[in-house]
Symmetry: D2
Subunit: 276 residues, 4 copies
């Protein structure tokens, strides 16, 4: 099982959430607790935005915990919006092009979960990707296929609707091939402003997904915690598993919901797969 | 441009043709002369057969010349039939799954050349791969697509005919999309006994391909050369560019021909693309 | 903490002990139980002997469980004597030259444990390496330093005595620098015939080390187990942690002892550090 | 032979000098002309400074031209002072710890050239490294040894003098061991403000080294060239080989000289090895 983290808010150094001990994603990659597999050593990726720039992506097939370049990068780069993902392969090859986050134009996408019996469904799913997008598929994973299906179904103009259509299409395709529960996912996607985070599975028993509590609430709870002081009240972290041990920090996203972190009030809405 | 070598004959250590200085494939990878690009540093692969075993493949994304594991392997493994390939990417990602030789069941396949405007043609070509084979595609190259098309068109029962159909199909598809000269190739394939080596290009100006002269002829020419003494008269080497400087060793395969190295007399036949 | 395995006996494919599920070293590297660290993902190495050849070494910085080349190699190579090691770095860089087994001439060496405060002691220890050996040191680990000290102190002619002197020297050096318990080790070394396996630590509380029971005993215990049938009665496996679940297979080497697997009767002797 | 580049001046994106075609260091790494070896594919490194931060280093063992992460980084990072180095190994292992630039505290160091018969001299040279610095040596190259000798001899307070002592010491040591011309080097070092660039060899026939002409001169020569317009007049590039084809851009550093790029007037001084 993979793990991921999405950050949106006051610019911070990536290392704050990726590297520092006892509460970072890298620390989690060595000592997984809630994950289905015990280790996330099959590569990792980081995608980040800086003022007025397209997103940058750094991806590696080495375990995150022993990659020195990642530590340099995480110490050197500050960003108001970044994604990070550590991978435990469910079978596809360990290579950079299979490593999340995936990028298309200004969008990033990352996924924890799987399409069940993907090798049987793959051809039909990939065929549904729009002709103009097809050549941009670089890897061989179910996760990237989901991204390109969502793009095909309108991600850029209707993020929630397109993901609902993507899920609906995968479930229909899977069931036509006799797959009982075709999809398991927590997904995050962004175009550099808002972040959409989805929790859904065909069996109604999805992997975990958490939003951080609003910073003003956290600051009231922990007035003495310096690290929180500089963060804007709108700062939010979305994670597949909670980081660190502070009580009151994490709110679980309910089954079959999508959370939207955005300027103004965040949203939490039911998520319902749709037919095309 | 890539470079490759196919060996068939008396078992020898791989290092004889891959590693040793001044006449090996690795030496060529550093000092390319006839190639379209000046360096072949984008990975390499070796595939070999041993008695009664399926073929093994070792592939790496590092330059062949600085890979210590390759030297160990090449010193330790003897084989009567092996393929080796050094890659200069024409654009697709540098990853093991894009590295030749490709393998399916008992077959190996390697290619030097390209499908022109592959990103525009890819979808249509991949769609023609048989459903039962589709899930075995691991990478994203034109070369692997050619292999799976040949398999779809009957490689296992009719090697020459299937490659003729594969080329015919790619040329038709390319021309429908306005690509004047869709294909450039030298290809080698084997199932562990015979080796088929093809030289063809849509423009009738193909990259080079050479067969070694029969060993009995070579031994007559160079009676004092110890390295030749132990090799059976049927031993043959097929290469994209000549290795070493011995005159009389290499015979160029003519344009639009296929050579077959096999038990009994070898063959050299015209190669003509066919419609499906 | 690292893990390792030494095999001596009837030639078998490396994959039998390295790759196959539920009882292999690779499986252990994902699901460590007795280890001090929870994952061994910082590279691995295999060293093996074949008839009349110097030892070959394959080493990689990727996790053993996701290295395809290792699977190919382990399926293709049979050997009567091989070492395998999976690494969890205690701080030195993740690079092939820091990966076990280390090789010098016909000798292999691998280690689980550490020299405590190695960065403070390193200079003095490395200085004691014989001038003729110094240039052969390729990496930066405590483990390789131990190997070259043992070589300096006579490993090739007196394996047990030289390791006793190596340990004595490290303990003296450490204590002069105020390190209370300078050394923790299980070590295996071989020159292709016998295998020496040491269990020792300055604090008298060493990491685990196990020998397999003699095969004739195992065959009597498990007459129906096909995998044991073909193995000679002298076949032995030495491991840092037991593999698999068969009861009666593993005998723990006692604290401060060295076991010697050799032609004729194996030996188990007390191990006592010596002054130079 | 390696190649390197040092930039100091108006902040620019690293990709301007590292990635862009026909005039970049990466382009050079594929198509070496003045180098002793024909290809620089044995890894590369980049070190850069940003306002108020210690230097960051990104190093990889892959060829620079096919490293996607380098392209991302070079597009995302702007810096007023950076070093870049592409390596062609003269024998030591291909690993990140052997890749330039080397870093110690706020200093970076990179080198093109070699210590001749380094394996014979290494022990004596490394022994001279100050005890407090010894544990910071991470790799095994002659280049890093030179850096730590310079640090030992006072690099941080007297850059030119310390390098003169380092060179004097290596020459004395080499000659005692019968090495006629112990050292060949172009070296750049910096602590984030000035850049020191040395050209020296024991045989008085050093590898090339070039400084760019002052920008005000270049702007007068090429008033229509947009890329120069935004650069401060003090901006300078130092390179082992000229980049691009603009005439009048490059001034060769004379044999046995050191150039200093700094605030105020740059300097060019004779360089003379000194005894300790």
């Amino acid at each position: 099982m993979c793990r991921w983290l999405a950050y949106s808010g006051s610019p911070i150094k990536l290392e704050e959430l990726l590297v520092k001990r006892d509460r970072s994603l890298i620390d989690q990659s060595l000592h997984a607790r809630q994950g289905a597999t015990t280790t996330n050593g099959d590569g990792f990726g980081v995608g980040w935005y800086e003022e007025g720039e397209p997103p940058r992506v750094y991806r590696s097939t080495h375990p995150a915990w022993n990659d020195r370049n990642l530590r340099e990068l995480a110490a050197g780069v500050s960003s108001p919006l970044f994604f990070a993902h550590i991978r435990a392969s469910t079978g596809t090859a360990i290579q950079e092009t299979n490593t999340h986050p995936f990028r298309y134009a200004n969008w990033l996408w990352m996924h924890n979960g799987l399409i069940r019996e993907f090798s049987r469904l793959k051809r039909e799913l990939v065929l549904a990707v729009d002709d103009s997008l097809y050549a941009s598929i670089e890897g061989t994973t179910d996760s990237e296929t989901m991204f390109f299906l969502a793009l095909t179904f309108g991600l850029e103009s209707d993020p929630v609707g397109s993901v609902e259509r993507m899920v609906g299409f995968i479930e229909e395709t899977g069931r036509m091939h006799g797959v009982e529960h075709p999809l398991q996912m927590t997904v995050a996607t962004t175009r550099g402003d808002a972040v959409w985070a989805f929790r859904y599975s065909s069996e109604g028993d999805s992997r975990s997904l958490y939003f951080s509590t609003r910073m003003d609430t956290l600051k009231a709870l922990y007035p003495e915690t310096d690290e929180l002081a500089g963060l804007s009240d709108e700062t939010r972290v979305v994670v597949s598993e909670p980081l660190g041990d502070l009580p009151g920090v994490w709110n679980e996203v309910p089954e079959s919901h999508v959370g939207i972190v955005q300027a103004g009030a965040d949203e939490l809405r039911p998520f319902t797969p749709r037919s095309l």
